[in-house]
């Protein structure tokens, strides 16, 4: 899982049937201090996250399918948490 911040959402009417009913958000990965790292990508939302939120993004298909509850659908990255606090004790 990685930390990311939500930039906005992606609207697509013509899509794979299993995507209907799932919000697709565009997220920008951030490091443990909240600074941007890497490039943005699209993730399905399962926790009603919105722009400006810091979220946990699962980037592995098997977990994505378990979270979204369907074992044969092409989900790859899923938002599975909204972060309230990052405490570094390193």
């Amino acid at each position: 899982m990685i930390l990311a911040r939500v930039l906005g959402n992606v609207v697509a009417t013509k899509k794979h049937p299993s995507y209907t009913g799932h919000k697709t958000l565009i997220v920008q990965p951030v490091d443990e201090y909240g600074n941007d790292t890497g490039t943005s990508f699209v993730a399905c939302d399962s926790v009603q996250a919105g722009p400006g939120d810091v979220v946990l993004v699962e980037q592995e298909g098997n977990c994505a399918r378990q979270i979204l509850g369907t074992l044969k659908d092409p989900f790859h990255s899923v938002i599975c948490g909204i972060v309230d606090r990052v405490k570094l004790e390193g």
Partner: protein, 100 residues
């Protein structure tokens, strides 16, 4: 999943039988500002996307699940045609509280 732009098509008559009558498109991955992000790649089309369309595609094992034969040798499949991208980039709300 990433946003990409369709920049061309790939025609291959001799190919694996499991991807026989599926369209192969060349796509250029994009970031949220629609700037090129990485190298172009070939992806199987499942939503009848055409040239110049902005699409999103999945990678790895999940792309085969979007195809008729879930065991086909594919690692990128286009699964949606993007109509709009709403960007409300207001940075991180309550950033000091979260990353104290």
């Amino acid at each position: 999943m990433k946003i990409a732009k369709v920049i061309g098509t790939v025609v291959a008559t001799v190919k694996d039988p499991s991807i026989k009558n599926l369209k192969i498109l060349m796509i250029q991955p994009l970031d949220e500002q629609f700037k090129s992000d990485g190298d172009p790649l070939a992806a199987i089309d499942t939503v009848q996307a055409g040239p110049e369309d902005i699409v999103y595609y999945t990678m790895a094992r999940e792309s085969t699940l979007a195809l008729p034969d879930p065991m086909s040798p594919v690692d990128a499949a286009i699964t949606g045609i993007v109509d709009e991208v709403y960007l409300e980039d207001k940075g991180i709300v309550d950033r000091e509280k979260i990353f104290a």
